[in-house]
Amino acid sequence: MDQQQFQKIVDEKNPKVPYFLNILKAFIVGGIICTIGQLLTFFYMRFFPFTEGTAANPTVATLVFIAMILTGTGIYKKIAQFGGAGSAVPVTGFGNAVISAAIEHKSEGYVLGVGGNMFKLAGSVILFGVLSAFVVALIKTILVSIGVISW
C-alpha cells in the first residue's frame, strides 16, 4: 500500500466538518456574549457617569471577570466546545486564554510560572493587534495626506 492509497483512505474516513452548523453555533454564542456586553454597557451608562465611549472600559473588565469565573469553574471550556469561534473572538476568549494559562502555570511559582506564561497564548493577540492597528493607521495617514479621504 503506497502513500497515495493510504491518503485516499484517510480522506475518505475523515469526518465531514459541519461548517454551516458550526457557523450558526458560533453566531448564537457570540451573539449572546455580545448582547450581555451591550446590556452591561447600558447598565454602566445608566447608573454610572460613563458615556458611550467610556463605558466600554468597565464593560470589558466585567466581561473578563465573568470569563475568569467561568474558566476557573470549567464552564468556559464547555461553552467553547459548543460555540467555537463565537466564544473565542469576543474579549471573553482573550480573558479565557490569559486566565487558563495563569491557572495552569501556578505550579511553577508566581514570577516564572504565572508571570512568565500568562500571555503564552494571548501574547500573539496583543502583538498582532498592535501591529495591525499600526498598519491601518499608516494606510489612513497616507490616504489622508494625498487627499483621498479626510479624518
Partner: protein
Amino acid sequence: MKKSIIVFLMLLLLGACSNEKEKVIFPADNSASLKPIMQKQETIHGYKSVINEENILVAININRFARFNKTKIEEKITKQIEKQFPERQVLVTGDQKIMWEVESIIDKKLKEEDLKKSIEKIKSLSKEET
C-alpha cells in the same frame, strides 16, 4: 412558558414600532431659530436640546445605518448651529448617555443655576477620553 416568551417578544417588537420620535427643545421659548436647523436634518430621527445663555446642547438620535458616520454628522450639525448662534458654545452628540442626561434635565425642568451646573457636568462628561 413558551407562550409568555412569545408575548414578551411581541411586546418588545410592538414597543419598538410605536416609539415616537421625540423632538424637544428646552426651554421651548428659546427654540425659534434652532428648530428649523434640526428639522432639515435627514440623518437623524429625533433630538433633544437644552439651551441657555452660553450653551447649546443637542443630543441626537442618528438613524441606524447612518451611525457609521456619527462623527461627521455631529460635526456638520455643530457647524450649522454655530453659524446661527456664533456667541454660544455648541455641543452636538449622538451619545446615548448624553441623551439620557438631557432627558433628565427636561424632566426636572431645571432653571437658571441648576441648569447651568447640569450643562457643565454633561460637557465635562462628554470630554472624557477612554
